[in-house]
């Protein structure tokens, strides 16, 4: 699913990374707890979160998320946006709540991150 499609489905606003909306995501995960994200996140994930501080972007950077979606109409704070721009992670903001956002994406064919531990060397 392209980020453009994600944007449409969630009626989201693009906070940054407009030029990267043609990129594809193949799975997603959502959490407001950063250590949970670090435990389940995998490279390329579309990460949905309701946290708005800089750490949410940091965490996305560390797990090498493809893009970030802030739910419940939130946006990262200024520091967060700057960091997202710097590392080149597109950021969307939707007014839908977490459950609804995930539901829309799942229903339209974007699966959740697998709970199985990553298979070796994705390289």
């Amino acid at each position: 699913m392209t980020l453009k499609k994600v944007k449409e489905l969630l009626q989201a606003e693009v906070v940054c990374g407009e030029s990267q909306l043609d990129e594809e995501v193949t799975f997603a995960g959502g959490s407001d707890l950063m250590s949970d994200v670090l435990a389940f996140g995998k490279p390329g994930i579309l990460l949905l979160t309701g946290l708005t501080n800089r750490q949410s972007v940091r965490t996305a950077e560390i797990i090498e998320a493809k893009a970030l979606v802030y739910v419940r109409g939130k946006k990262p704070d200024k520091e967060g946006i700057e960091l997202a721009k710097k590392i080149g992670i597109p950021v969307l903001s939707t007014h839908y709540m977490m459950y609804t956002s995930c539901g829309f994406l799942f229903k339209n064919g974007l699966p959740g991150v697998s709970l199985l531990r990553e298979k070796e060397d994705e390289k």
Binding site: S35, A39, R54, E61, E120
Partner: protein, 148 residues
């Protein structure tokens, strides 16, 4: 910095409560490992462990020192802090156990997954602590080992 045994060695200071710089160390280490051509899955594991360790110092200690060294066979982190320390390490190591305050939880911390994440992502991990004094972590990653 270079010396005979270590390919590289880096020292960082961490200030307790300094959330705006939290994460910088792991990002820098990640960059360094990337430049050195370490395989990406290992870099990711190391970055996660570094980040969790760094965050715990920011969350629970006044002051900390993060030492990163790289030898031809290992990535090695030691993280030493002056802080409240941990009474019951076995308990602290359990997934979901957290003493994070409401304030920290609102910031997205307190899943009680930090120490378990460090353990899971590293190849060797040791923790010791003196309540009221501080905590010490010793974390290794083996470069020449097959992925776990």
């Amino acid at each position: 910095m270079k010396n005979k045994e270590n390919v590289l060695s880096q020292h960082y200071e961490i200030n307790g409560g300094d959330f705006s710089n939290a994460g910088n160390i792991s990002t820098q280490i990640k960059e360094t490992l990337k430049e050195l051509g370490i395989r990406s899955s290992l870099i990711r594991r190391a970055a996660i462990a570094a980040y969790e360790a760094e965050m715990n110092v920011v969350m629970y200690a006044h002051q900390g020192q993060f030492q990163f060294s790289l030898t031809p066979s290992t990535i090695h982190f030691t993280v030493k802090d002056l802080g409240i320390g941990i009474e019951d390490i076995e308990l602290a190591m359990q997934e979901g156990y957290s003493t994070a305050t409401e304030e920290l939880r609102e910031m997205g911390f307190g899943a009680g997954m930090g120490l378990p994440n460090i353990k899971r992502n590293s190849d060797q991990f040791q923790i010791s602590s003196t309540p009221g004094k501080g905590t010490f972590l010793d974390i290794f990653f083996y470069l020449n080992q097959r992925e776990k």
